[in-house]
Subunit: 139 residues, 2 copies
DNA sequence: GGTCGTGCCTCCAGCACCTGGAGGTTCTAG
DNA sequence: CTAGAACCTCCAGGTGCTGGAGGCACGACC
């Protein structure tokens, strides 16, 4: 195969500047070029970029993806590390969900208590303004 | 009152460089200075910064906070706009939660199916590598 | 083989929201 | 008066891209 960066972009669903950015940070390898300096890719690059895209969609950080890619290149080693990375990330996702649920609760309450009158009585504004105690208590 | 930036930082729970940053982007006003050019604040600044911090904790974007601050300065106008901003943000939070829940499902499945053997059979790596079809189907 | 249009190249600036360091000045307690 | 903490400005960096400017390459068609 002999794929241009635009074609790779289409096949993997990743924008062209993003591919170049991934090359810059070492997630994608520097690849062979045409005489006119244009990048040429093959099927292995499509697979790698798909791997990266999917990991990003799952919210893995670039550092974690780097490690996962290294691992997938060593199929005979233990996958303990991959498991650890995934669990760590799951914990992080759980934390984010918990935090957002709490926000959602507060926002919902704020909105439902808003009497739709003047700003002076607006619950939304009040909650934001009056949080001195709460915030200090929790720290 | 006659508060230094460090004292303001402690009272509002916002780091000193962040306060200066907020001044730079216009969330906090430029304030009076001592002869030696050091910033001096009063109770209204503490309240304003608390408002900002709490709004940030609730995930409001800086632009939204700017609007909310403007509103809280006009207590006799309708709070319709505040309500709208809060609802818009709630929708956004709902979207983020939904997305994270989906991720959580996929991550949990991935981890539970991992046989803890070699990378070659690792479900975590496989899921990331084999998503060509899925991804293309959805587009 | 010339030309046209699209796609590619590099470089750099910007987004959101801070964070921290360097190098220098000011405040304040003892 | 002096020591040291806290302040000042300016600027670079971090995360993960994104897009524009200005210029060259590719390939299809005539």
């Amino acid at each position: 195969m002999d794929i241009s960066i635009g074609e790779l972009s289409r096949r993997a669903g990743v924008k062209v500047p993003t591919i170049r950015y991934y090359e810059g940070i070492g997630l994608m390898p520097e690849t062979s070029r045409t005489e006119g300096k244009q990048r040429r890719y093959d099927a292995t690059h499509v697979a790698r970029l798909n791997f990266i895209r999917h990991a990003r969609e799952l919210g893995f950080e670039v550092e974690a993806i780097r490690e996962l890619l290294d691992m997938s290149g060593q199929p005979d080693t233990s996958c303990e590390e991959a498991d650890r990375i995934a669990r760590r990330h799951l914990d992080e996702v759980d934390r984010r969900i918990a935090k957002l649920e709490a926000l959602r609760g507060e926002l919902t309450r704020m909105i439902s208590e808003c009497g739709h009158g003047r700003v002076a009585e607006c619950r939304v504004i009040q909650v934001l303004a009056d949080h001195d105690q709460c915030a200090h208590d929790r720290h």
